[in-house]
């Protein structure tokens, strides 16, 4: 086994473990614990991206996800300040069991088909100089994908305005907190 394979296994196992911690009740029951597990998952993923020679994306992963998105998550978790009885784990129902079984079946099948179909695909092409660096990705974004790139800025603007409109306190509206009622 080369060093690269060892690093892949370490990071992959850590990533999957972190993702499971987010989703499964023991840790994911408290949203703040789930957020911390998600943060760890993002850092491990960033390491995996470096292994894939995607250096700029790895940096962006830390900046955007581990930085901005996680701050937003922890801010909202602490703002809402959920009480203990509101932090119950998943309530098992027939639909959820069916959904979980369907998800597991489909993803297992997809993974098996992909692994079989690409078993002898070339692992890696020869990389041009500066692959995945800032100049390389910027060239793609600003020359080949200029229109989607500019549309992204419009999307972000719409998201900001939409988030403000949705979360705004309605003037003279309903009581701030009505526990037990249906939302």
């Amino acid at each position: 086994m080369t060093a690269e394979v060892v690093v892949f296994w370490v990071l992959a196992v850590a990533t999957v473990a972190g993702a499971l911690c987010v989703v499964l009740p023991p840790m994911g029951r408290n949203p703040l614990h789930a957020a911390i597990a998600l943060l760890a998952t993002f850092f491990f993923l960033s390491g995996l991206f470096v292994l894939l020679s995607a250096h700029l994306v790895a940096v962006l992963q830390v900046l955007v996800y581990a930085g901005a998105v996680m701050v937003l998550f922890t801010f909202v978790v602490m703002l809402l300040n959920l009480r203990r009885h509101e932090l119950a784990g998943p309530r098992p129902t027939l639909f959820k069991a069916l959904g979980a079984a369907a998800v597991l079946a489909v993803t297992t099948k997809v993974a098996m088909v992909v692994a079989a179909a690409l078993a002898d695909a070339p692992a890696a092409a020869d990389l041009p100089d500066g692959f995945g660096g800032g100049r390389d990705v910027a060239g793609n974004l600003l020359i080949d994908y200029l229109v989607p790139f500019e549309l992204t800025s419009i999307l972000l603007l719409v998201a900001i305005v939409g988030a403000l409109a949705i979360a705004r306190r309605t003037p003279g509206g309903e009581p701030d907190r009505a526990p037990g009622g249906d939302a």
Partner: protein, 102 residues
């Protein structure tokens, strides 16, 4: 050069996507559902980058960049929705949010 086969990367991507989908389907805390959505998007990013590495073509890195921007927008709107849900019902329990149920 890279000793890791493409299929391993894709299995990892599928696993991340599946774990995220599992969370979206089974959890009832809106915040944890949003976090699971992030996991699904990251699984897709892993697949993009693995193919980019295998083909030696970095166009997919631009796609990953755009996926990240969309994910950030999605989190902003999703968390605003969670706050609005909390204002109305005092919790973020998706099983109890059924005003819009048909």
């Amino acid at each position: 050069m890279s000793g890791v086969p493409l299929s391993w990367w894709l299995v990892l991507a599928t696993a991340l996507f599946g774990i995220g989908a599992l969370g979206v389907v089974t959890r009832r805390n809106a915040l944890v559902v949003l976090m699971s959505l992030e996991l699904m998007l990251n699984g897709v990013n892993v697949a993009f980058l693995a193919f980019a590495r295998a083909r030696g073509d970095s166009l997919a890195h631009a796609a990953v960049f755009i996926v990240m921007a969309v994910a950030a927008a999605e989190v902003a709107v999703g968390l605003a929705l969670a706050i609005a849900l909390f204002r109305h019902g005092g919790n973020v329990d998706l099983d109890r949010a059924r005003r819009m149920k048909g």
